[in-house]
């Protein structure tokens, strides 16, 4: 029963890992992997010297950092707030509603975003006009300055509820005696939150943080592609092009396979490095680590 599964894993996971070697070739589909010429680091040099290299790196890092510092804590804050709710019905209602977007595809979410932000009848423009914050409808999705906020907000909207599940479970697992003891000692709700709840769920937070750091250069490939018209939106490109979208654009759309693989491999190497460093720091700080 194991062998067929292992064969599938080798074919679909390990052969592509080996396939990254095309980054060191001048791969041509006609000659195939074995017939193509080896060219060493040529494609890496081309990538590092590309005029767009620094822009791509900046976008990848900035978007990743925004995700790490804003999108990552959001479900934790949400779980902590939900935990303060005593009304069981209200709590269940909010929770049930919050899971919903996780099950909707990014295609549909991007459709929602485009519809809500549209100029003709987008609800956001209408609301802001009613409140007299803006006079004229704004073309939100064609102004580079707003792109990162839109991206991060829609990501939070989609995953906040689902991300909170593990934290809520961790909070539920805390021994109630600790709260009783604390309130006898005169600790208020804020004090209990800071001294009991947060430290108790810290191990879970750290594990997820490590996992997140390993993903750090995945700045949100799908959503960026979908919100920028498959990368065709030239106005947004200076803020939206990341390593992943770049690999997609030059590789799949322009057939520069070796060059795109080199860019992808560069990203992979950095991600693994970050994961190892994060794990090492976590092990130093406390006792939770991935391995």
């Amino acid at each position: 029963m194991v062998i067929p599964a292992i064969i599938m894993i080798i074919i679909f996971s390990y052969i592509p890992m080996w396939g990254v070697l095309t980054a060191f070739q001048d791969y041509s589909p006609a000659k195939g992997f074995f017939g193509s010429e080896w060219v060493g680091f040529k494609h890496f040099r081309m990538f590092f010297n590309a005029p767009e290299f620094w822009q791509i790196m900046r976008n990848t890092i900035v978007i990743s950092m925004l995700k790490l510092f804003i999108a990552f804590p959001a479900p934790i804050v949400f779980a902590l707030m939900l935990n303060e709710v005593k009304n069981a019905f209200f709590k269940r209602f909010v929770q049930t509603v919050s899971y919903l977007p996780h099950f909707i595809s990014w295609v549909i979410v991007s459709g929602f975003v485009i519809s809500l932000l549209s100029v003709d009848n987008g609800s956001v423009n209408m609301l802001l006009q009613k409140l007299n914050i803006i006079d004229e409808p704004v073309h939100w999705l064609s102004i580079p300055e707003y792109f990162w906020s839109i991206l991060i907000t829609s990501g939070i909207w989609k995953e906040i509820g689902f991300g909170a599940i593990v934290y809520l479970a961790a909070i539920t697992g805390i021994d109630p005696h600790m709260y009783e003891a604390a309130s006898i000692d005169g600790a208020g709700r804020m004090r209990q939150l800071v001294s009991i709840t947060i430290p108790s769920i810290a191990p879970v937070i750290i594990i997820f943080l490590i996992l997140q750091v390993g993903q750090i250069l995945n700045a949100g490939f799908e959503e960026i592609l979908l919100l920028t018209n498959q990368g065709q939106n030239v106005v947004l490109r200076p803020v939206s092009e990341t390593i992943d979208t770049y690999v997609y654009r030059v590789g799949i759309e322009n057939y520069r396979f070796s060059y795109a693989t080199a860019a992808g491999l560069f990203k992979g190497v950095i991600s693994v490095g970050l994961l190892v460093i994060a794990n090492w720091i976590a092990r130093r700080l406390g006792n939770s680590s991935l391995w």
Binding site: M1, I9, Y14, M81, V107, N121, T261, G264
Partner: protein
């Protein structure tokens, strides 16, 4: 005081979460030319079923819908079957080379060849433009295998021993004894796998060019993207004026919203029933050793 603030924020969050769904539903029931005039928010102003009539008459969309259904059903069934069999074997103490297989699996969770090598592999395997390209590469999910395995390890030993005494081999034991008691975990993982298949668009968009094989999400995306190009076109006013004058009761946007609802409603309908399962599933998944 804190309570009030917390309740207000959470209520606001719930409204913000639900509003896009509701607004899209409303637009899908509103006449397209009326929607284009603006101001449709929480209630349809010119109620119509035209958008849905159009969607259900469009051969391309109907075909895409069936492709999506076929993909979801076949993909989920095969993936759950093979992954659970794999996991069952991996839960057996006597399995030779178990540790090696496990390492092989876990490595794939952190490293991958990336987009281009995978694309070239699919090309070399001649899977491009086939229905199976949507199913086969994802048939074994390491993540699900670990969850299944954790569940199987928790089953009492006596259960299988009695089957063994009655002369069942591993395969019989698995199908007759183990699977029937694994309802909750199968339900959870099937839900996640099915939702994944239902929502997937990227693999189809790069591996498939034959229009007859494209799933709903890809078609929907193509339509949404064409609105986006229209929205961000620099020649706004003239084109837009013209567009508004020529607007029919069915417009691009109203169709997109109706299609969106067709793609969304099946999920929204299933999910309350399995909610209690998936919360457990997520927790098992996050407790991986």
């Amino acid at each position: 005081m804190i309570d009030v603030v917390v309740y207000v924020i959470l209520l606001l969050l719930a409204v913000v979460t639900l509003y896009p769904f509701w607004n899209s539903l409303v637009i899908s029931f509103n006449a397209g030319n009326d929607t284009a005039a603006g101001g449709v928010t929480i209630w349809p102003r010119a109620f119509t079923l035209e958008n849905y009539k159009y969607v259900f008459k469009d051969a391309r969309l109907i075909n895409a819908f069936w492709i999506t259904v076929a993909r979801t059903v076949t993909g989920t069934f095969l993936s759950i079957l093979f992954t659970s069999m794999f996991a069952y074997a991996m839960s057996k103490r006597g399995l030779i080379g178990k540790k090696f297989y496990m390492i092989l699996c876990v490595i794939t969770m952190y490293f991958s060849g990336g987009l281009i090598p995978s694309y070239l592999l699919i090309k070399d395997l001649h899977l491009m433009n086939t229905f199976w390209v949507l199913i086969i590469p994802g048939i074994i999910s390491v993540w699900n295998m670990i969850i299944f395995r954790t569940f199987f390890l928790g089953l009492p030993d006596g259960l299988e021993e009695s089957a063994r005494i009655d002369g069942c081999n591993h395969i019989d034991t698995f199908f007759r004894i183990v699977l029937p008691v694994s309802g909750p975990v199968i339900a959870t993982l099937s839900l996640f796998t099915a939702v994944g298949h239902w929502n997937a668009w990227f693999d189809a968009s790069i591996y498939i060019s034959n229009q007859k094989l494209l799933p709903l999400q890809v078609i929907l995306n193509q339509t949404i993207q064409s609105i986006l190009s229209f929205e961000s076109s620099t020649v706004i006013s003239a084109t837009k004026q013209e567009f508004l004058q020529n607007a029919q009761s069915v417009t691009h946007k109203s169709i997109v919203m109706a299609t969106t609802m067709v793609a969304t409603i099946p999920i929204v309908m299933v999910y309350p029933f399995v909610q209690k399962y998936f919360v457990k599933g997520v927790l098992v998944g996050s407790l991986k050793e």
